[in-house]
Subunit: 182 residues, 2 copies
DNA sequence: AATTATATAAACAGACTTGTCTGAATATAT
DNA sequence: ATATATTCAGACAAGTCTGTTTATATAATT
C-alpha cells in the first residue's frame, strides 16, 4: 500500500540518523535504511540522489537536533559554559558513549567531500561561538572549547564519565582565574 | 615465483599501514592490500587470521613508529611539552592533515572490538604520561594533553596549521603561569 | 632425507554494496 | 480532468567484501 503522507522523507532521515549513530556511516547500507524505514529504494533515491547527499542532510538535521537539546538544557543554568559539561554527561549516558556524530563522520569521510566537511565545520564553529559568547574572551573560549572537545573524545575512549568531570573542574578553575573580581 | 624471504609479513604491514592511513580502515579492502603488497591472499590469512587481527597489528606498529618519530624529534628540544606542538605541525605537512590514526580508528570501530580499543587507549595513555613526566604536575599535564589533542582534531578539520599555533601559545601561557619562579 | 613452515595462484562461497530501471498506482495541483 | 509529484515492489547491474579451499612449490629445520 502506498503511504502518501509525505513523512517518507522524514522516516528516511529518522532511520538514517539512528543507524548512522549506532553503527557509523560506512557500516550502514542503503538497504538497511530502506528496510527499517519501511520505504522503497526508489523512494529514497527520489529524495536523495546519492548516499552522500543523505549524509549531508543527516548532518544538517543532527546539528539542529543537537543545538536544540543543548540550548534547552542550558536554559535555566547559571554558568552555561560549565553546564555544557553536564550536558555531555547526560548525553554519554543516553547514547552509551557514542561520541560526537560530527567527529565520527570526520574520521569516516574525506576532504574531497566538501559539503560533508562544511557541515562538520559549521557545527564546530557554532559550538565555539557559544563559548565565545558566554566567556567574552576569545582565547579563554578557545581553551574551554578544547577541553570540551577532549571531554567528548576521552570519555568515549575510556567509556566513562571521569574525563568529563575532571575537565569540567579544570575549566572551572581556568575561568575563575580569569575573572577580574579575583 | 615464491618469495621466501620472510619479509612478506612486513610487506603486508607496511602496505596496510599506508592504505589505512590514506583511505581509512573500512575503506581499504583486503584485496587492495594483497594486490599492492604483491602477496597472495592465503599468505595474508596465514599471518593474520582476520582483518581485525591485522588492524590490531597495524595499531601496535603505528604506535611504535609514532613514538620513535616523536621522541626523536624532541631529543634536542628544550621545552619538550611545547615542542610536541611543533612535531604536530611537521606531521600535518607530511601527511596532508590526515589526523591521528588512533582517533580515526576510534571512530571506525566499536567498543566490542576490545583489542582494538586497547591499542588506542594504550597509545593515548602513553602520550598523557609524556606530558605528566615533562610537566610534573598531573592536572596541568591533562590540560596541555587536551590542547594537544584538540590541536590534532581542529587542524584536521580546518585543514591548516593555525589551530596548532594558537593552541601552542595557549599552552605556553598556561605552563608559564604555573611556574613557581613567577 | 623427512618433516614442517611458508608461500603461491586462483577458484569459490555467500553475502553485501550503491545505484538504476520498469511498470504501476495513487495523490496533489492546475 | 489532466498533468505532475510521489510512492511502491522488485528485478537488475556491476561490482565489492571477507574469508576458505585446493593443489602445488619451495625453503628451513630436524
Amino acid at each position: 500500500m502506498v503511504q502518501h503522507n509525505q513523512d517518507v522523507k522524514d522516516r528516511i532521515l529518522i532511520t538514517a540518523d539512528r543507524l548512522f549513530q549506532e553503527q557509523g556511516f560506512n557500516e550502514t547500507g542503503i538497504n538497511q535504511i530502506i528496510s527499517e524505514a519501511n520505504i522503497a529504494k526508489a523512494s529514497l533515491y527520489y529524495h536523495f540522489k546519492s548516499k552522500e547527499e543523505l549524509c549531508v542532510a543527516y548532518l544538517q538535521r543532527r546539528n539542529e537536533i543537537w543545538n536544540k537539546a543543548f540550548y534547552e538544557f542550558l536554559r535555566n543554568k547559571n554558568n552555561k559554559a560549565l553546564a555544557a559539561f553536564d550536558f555531555l554527561v547526560e548525553r554519554n549516558s543516553m547514547d552509551n558513549f557514542r561520541g560526537c556524530s560530527f567527529l565520527n563522520m570526520l574520521s569516516e569521510t574525506s576532504p574531497e567531500k566538501k559539503l560533508v566537511y562544511d557541515e562538520i565545520q559549521n557545527h564546530k564553529s557554532g559550538l565555539l561561538l557559544f563559548f565565545e559568547y558566554e566567556l567574552k574572551e576569545k582565547e579563554l573560549a578557545y581553551l574551554i572549547y578544547s577541553l570540551f572537545e577532549n571531554a567528548i573524545i576521552e570519555s568515549k575512549l575510556q567509556r566513562n564519565q571521569e574525563p568529563v568531570y575532571r575537565l569540567k573542574k579544570l575549566a572551572e578553575s581556568l575561568i575563575q582565574s580569569k575573572k577580574p573580581s579575583n
